[in-house]
C-alpha cells in the first residue's frame, strides 16, 4: 500500500494518514464482525448498516477497492440477499489485515 501517495491525495502527512488508517482497521474489524453476525442471524439490515460504514470510511481514505466491495455488499444486503457474503467478508478481511500489517 502506497501510503505516501494516498496521504498526498488527501493533502495529509504520512503520519496523519497512518493514524487514520489504524483507526480504519479498528473500525472495519468491528464492522466485519457485525456483518458476520448479520449473516449468521439472517439480519440483512444489520449487515447493510455495517457495510455502509465500511464503504464511507474506505472511500474517504482512498481505499477504492474496499469501498467498492462494501458498496456491493450494502446493495445486496439492502435487497435481502446475503448469498456469497462469506467470500466478500474474506476478501475484505484479507485487505484489512494486510493494511494492519503495513
Amino acid at each position: 500500500m502506497d501510503y505516501k501517495h494516498l496521504a498526498d491525495q488527501l493533502d495529509m502527512s504520512e503520519e496523519e494518514f497512518s493514524e487514520l488508517a489504524a483507526l480504519f482497521v479498528t473500525i472495519t474489524r468491528a464492522d466485519l464482525k457485525k456483518i458476520r453476525q448479520g449473516v449468521s442471524n439472517d439480519n440483512p439490515s444489520r449487515a447493510a448498516a455495517a457495510a455502509h460504514s465500511i464503504k464511507g470510511a474506505a472511500g474517504n481514505l482512498g481505499f477504492t477497492h474496499m469501498a467498492e466491495l462494501a458498496k456491493k455488499m450494502e446493495a445486496l444486503a439492502n435487497a435481502g440477499n446475503l448469498d456469497n457474503f462469506d467470500v466478500y467478508i474474506m476478501d475484505l478481511e484479507t485487505r484489512v489485515e494486510a493494511l494492519a500489517a503495513t
Binding site: 487514520l20 470510511a57 481514505l61
Partner: protein
C-alpha cells in the same frame, strides 16, 4: 498576546473515521472542532457550545440527519447555525428535502478534506456577512424607532390637552402612529392612525404624516377639511396599495364640541361623566387611497369630564382568536367604563393591563389614547 477565539465547527456522523478526518483537516487550519457520534449527542453539543457551523451526516442510526436538522431549526438557540449535510446519497429529492429543512449546502461522500475545508470557509463567510447585515439593519431600525418615538407627543408636554397614552410597537419600527395638535388655545386635535403593514418604509412615512397634520390641522380648516387635505397629499405620496386608517378627534373646549372624523378606523368610545360608555361610530374611507374619499364626520356636544377612547385595531382585533373590530370594540366598553376611578393619564395603561390575555405577546402594534374634556 491577545487570545484569538477560533471558529467552531460541530461534526455529527456515526462513522468515527469520518469524524476524525474532519477534525484533523479543520483543526490544523485553526478551527475548533466538536464531534458527535449520533444525532441527539450532536444536538446537545449544538445547544451547549453554539458552534459557528454544523456538518451533519444524513444516514445515521436512530435520529437521522433530517430529524436532527428539523429539531435544530425548531430550537431558537440553534436555529441560526448553518448546517451542511454530509451524504453518500446523490438523489436530488433527498438533497432538495435537506435544503427545504434549512441546510445551506451538501458535501458528497466520500469527501476530500480540502473540499470540506473550502465549503466550511465559504459558509462561515456567508454566515458572517449575513449576520453583520442583520445587525446593521437592526441598528438602522433602532434609529428609526428612536426617531419615531421622539415624534410621539408625551402627555406631560401638552398639559392642556389632558390625555393619556399607551403605545406599543410590535417590531422595531411600528405602523401605528398618534399625534396631538394644539390648534388654538382651546382647540386640540388628537390623531391616531394605523398604516397597512409595518415595514421600514411605513416608519419613514409617519414623519411625513406628522408634518402634514401640522400644516393642515389649523383653525382655517374644519376637521373634515383637514382630513381631506391630508388625504389628497397622501394619495399622491403613498406607494400603491399603501394606505392608513385613522381617527381624528377635534375637541373645542371653548364651545364644548367634539368632532370626530373617521377614515376606515375602529369606532371611538365615549364615557360620559354620567351614564354608560358607548361607541361613537362613523364610517369613512381610508386615508391615502382615493382622491374622492368620503370621511364620516360626527359632531357632538360634550360635558366637562367626558372621556373619549381612540385606539388602533391592535387593541380590539385578534386574528388568532378570530375577533374582528366590531365584536372587539363592544367588549371594550365595560372595561373602559370600569376605568373611571383611574386618572385619564393612567387609563390606557390600566386598560391594557385588564385586557384578557394581556400577558401574551400582542399580535399587532397597539396605540390607545384616552382624552378627557
Amino acid at each position: 498576546m491577545q487570545k484569538i477565539q477560533p471558529y467552531t465547527v460541530l461534526a455529527v456522523d456515526d462513522n468515527l473515521l469520518n469524524l476524525k478526518m474532519i477534525e484533523k483537516s479543520l483543526s490544523r487550519e485553526g478551527y475548533q472542532v466538536f464531534i458527535a457520534g449520533n444525532g441527539s449527542e450532536g444536538r446537545a453539543i449544538a445547544r451547549e457550545k453554539h458552534p459557528d457551523l454544523i456538518l451533519l451526516d444524513i444516514e445515521m442510526p436512530g435520529e437521522n440527519g433530517f430529524d436532527v436538522i428539523k429539531k435544530l431549526k425548531q430550537d431558537a438557540a440553534t436555529n441560526p447555525i448553518p448546517v451542511i449535510f454530509l451524504t453518500g446519497v446523490s438523489d436530488v429529492n433527498a438533497k432538495l428535502k435537506g435544503f427545504d429543512l434549512g441546510a445551506v449546502d451538501y458535501i458528497t461522500k466520500p469527501f476530500h478534506p480540502l473540499e470540506v475545508l473550502a465549503r466550511v470557509r465559504i459558509h462561515l463567510k456567508l454566515s458572517i456577512a449575513t449576520n453583520s447585515l442583520i445587525q446593521d439593519q437592526a441598528a438602522k431600525l433602532l434609529q428609526v424607532a428612536e426617531a419615531q418615538n421622539a415624534m410621539l407627543p408625551a402627555p406631560q408636554n401638552f398639559p392642556d390637552a389632558t390625555f393619556g397614552v399607551y403605545y406599543k410597537s410590535l417590531e422595531e419600527a411600528g405602523g401605528d402612529f398618534y399625534d396631538v395638535l394644539t390648534i388654538s388655545e382651546y382647540i386640540t386635535g388628537y390623531f391616531v392612525a394605523d398604516f397597512a403593514g409595518h415595514d421600514i418604509r411605513t416608519s419613514y412615512l409617519t414623519a411625513s404624516v406628522k408634518a402634514l397634520l401640522a400644516q393642515n390641522c389649523t383653525p382655517l380648516y374644519s376637521p373634515g377639511e383637514s382630513m381631506k387635505m391630508v388625504n389628497a397629499v397622501l394619495q399622491q405620496m403613498l406607494p400603491p396599495e399603501k394606505y392608513l386608517t385613522a381617527c381624528y378627534l377635534h375637541l373645542n373646549r371653548s364651545t364644548m364640541t367634539m368632532t370626530l372624523v373617521n377614515a376606515g378606523h375602529p369606532p371611538a368610545a365615549c364615557l360620559p361623566v354620567q351614564g354608560d360608555a358607548y361607541l361613537v361610530k362613523s364610517r369613512g374611507d381610508v386615508l391615502g387611497m382615493f382622491s374622492d374619499a368620503h370621511f364620516g364626520v360626527l359632531r357632538m356636544k360634550v360635558t366637562r369630564g367626558d372621556r373619549f377612547l381612540v385606539y388602533s385595531d391592535g387593541l380590539v382585533e385578534s386574528v388568532d382568536k378570530k375577533i374582528n373590530w366590531a365584536a372587539g370594540a363592544r367588549k371594550l366598553l365595560p372595561m373602559f367604563q370600569n376605568l373611571r376611578a383611574f386618572s385619564c393619564a393612567d387609563a390606557p395603561r390600566q386598560l391594557i393591563r385588564h385586557l384578557p390575555g394581556a400577558h401574551k405577546i400582542p399580535e399587532d402594534d397597539v396605540v390607545v389614547l384616552c382624552i378627557e374634556v
